[in-house]
Symmetry: C2
Subunit: 418 residues, 2 copies
Amino acid sequence: MAKTSIRKVANGGITTPKGFTAAASSCGIKPGGAARKDLCMIYSKKPCVTAGTFTKNRIKAAPVKLSQIHLQRGNPQLIVANSGNANCATGERGVSDAHSMAQQAGEVLGIQTNAVLVCSTGIIGVPLPMERILPEFSKLAGKLSRSGGADAAEAIMTSDTHQKAAAVRVSDTRGKAYTIGAIAKGAGMICPDMATMLCFVTTDVMIEKKVLRAITREAVDLSFNRITVDGDMSTNDTVLVLANGASGAVIEEGVVGEEDEALFKTALVRLMQTLAKMLVCDGERVTKLVEIKVTGAATERDARWVAEAVANSTLCKCSWNGGDPNWGRVIHAIGYANARLTESRISISFGGIPACIDGVDAHTSISELQAVVAQAEFTVQIDLGLGDAACTMWTSDLSPEYVNFNRAEYALSRTRKG
Amino acid sequence: MAKTSIRKVANGGITTPKGFTAAASSCGIKPGGAARKDLCMIYSKKPCVTAGTFTKNRIKAAPVKLSQIHLQRGNPQLIVANSGNANCATGERGVSDAHSMAQQAGEVLGIQTNAVLVCSTGIIGVPLPMERILPEFSKLAGKLSRSGGADAAEAIMTSDTHQKAAAVRVSDTRGKAYTIGAIAKGAGMICPDMATMLCFVTTDVMIEKKVLRAITREAVDLSFNRITVDGDMSTNDTVLVLANGASGAVIEEGVVGEEDEALFKTALVRLMQTLAKMLVCDGERVTKLVEIKVTGAATERDARWVAEAVANSTLCKCSWNGGDPNWGRVIHAIGYANARLTESRISISFGGIPACIDGVDAHTSISELQAVVAQAEFTVQIDLGLGDAACTMWTSDLSPEYVNFNRAEYALSRTRKG
């Protein structure tokens, strides 16, 4: 059996895996016109094995509903995505618009409508400018190339300040190599209205649909479901994974492929966690990436509840923004997490330096603690002292600039659109 | 049967009901020294029938645990409260300090320790300066008077900008009159560390303990449990109701007193709602009081979940701060509330002006909607179009100044205290 490895690919992205091409253009959905890309295609010549996870918000955007159906029924090989408009709360017109996007994009590439996945992100409640979108598809199809991945990453950005892409190269147990690439866009509520998290993953490994779907669910749970910027859940959140087998590497079924399956999972989790942390760091007006590491919980559910409560606490996030090692706010958020607790067993550290031991002040020098919280990245360790269960999440601070940024986008966008 | 009535008492408060006296002083728990009152007593000569509700946070401050026990075992007639320090996360020393406060305050008035209720609010994790608190009790006892109510209201303030007090006068079915008075302090996280909501209610009506407790629970649920400023739940939240019977008016048991019981409940709910809205308006750096009125839900639980999701949405609160009638953010918060929904039946109005009808844009003039959201008080109506259940909550906007205010209190307070 060959020695396995997972390596980061420098400047890797969605078109790093073999057989995938992409292209993007500006069609004026976003304000600012031609300067800003807002429509893209990601294409595989071969039909793909696919997996996807979607928002749990009960108000789902039209393209989310459509992509869920196409993922079940078709053999997708094309993603069409636009930014600047979420096509959400747009009624029957929205459903019909999403369908037209799939149909007409499919037509120019000669593939069936249900082989097309559609994603939209941007303002809620405003119909898509279809007259600008539909004519772009033939141009996009003509531009599809291996070098178009970065353009696609740019076209899905909304309030993101930079594009997010990464790829890893995996050597499997038989010495065969394949790659996994991905692009993603903004968690944190996105200008003008939405926090939509989108992540598209491509890979040239051959893998069973059932296995890909199970691994995708797990990887999303360990990455995108462990980050929070403002606690709001978007109507459009979507993760899509497309595997086309073009590398020749195969993850065999059953016991034979067990080790390769585990390797693929590790690689996918690592890639998704990389992108998830990029999303937090580039959240709206975020200045800090904070890791919340809960240990010693009685159950995994308890650990998760505590991590979530602290990661989402407005007050904790304000204090981190100010570089303030306020453990009182951490313990008060722990207290309302609904987890099993014994106050006198709780310990809290910042970057490994204890702030609270056994439920009371650790009397550490405040300047040592401040030095940790002053950093752009640090960890808050919470030990509940009850059991072995643990959970790690990533969150951000909350800045006055975030609030300023989110004060008045709707009226502005309405005024803009007349 | 006499005509009943409930009337507001001008400048009423905690000492408006007969037989209650109060006093306050500055003993230097809060920074700023003698200028700021931080300790008070509220006293009834007669032992009282009492009821209380306390924080559901699993980290409970020492005085909360003590008051819960005294409420069960004793016949309370004295409340001792301090601001500036929450006596929370202070371990065994905190428990012993809370007990000493009850014991020594009781001693100077010649009453048993378990007849004393103790409340603290302020910083977490720092022991109380007992050497400054205990000597004050005999002075406070000497100052107790009917005119001390306003001083007590001031002494429980932390980051509140003004004191909160109100009273109502009730005429019952026999033509007898009694009053209910109350003081409260700050929802919204309180300088330096805590959001503690405290409310003390006194009344001179005679009422059964069982009845008072049931009515108190209901009234708190319809008032203080329907407000939110930042979604954080304090370790010290406490509502106490003391009834001493000094007016001579009696709420009889059983069918005889049914109408008087309902009257008392209406009066208590009205008083508590008045104070609850005062708390929201005086939340940290709040500029708007927003009523969230959900109707048409399939069940009451659904209505409540939707009201809570919208009332706590960071993004909705930012948009209200900016005077932005952003219904897209409202529907997206409705979507993650976990309630039964049919998107095409949801309607959203601001101050009665429709913004979204049947799940899509109502195409109202944006300036009309902006005029509503520009006001200091307005209502967001959400009709789910499914059933008859409803729920109303009160919330605030979220301002950049709130975040600025909450950035760095802990280190400041630590530095201050050496």
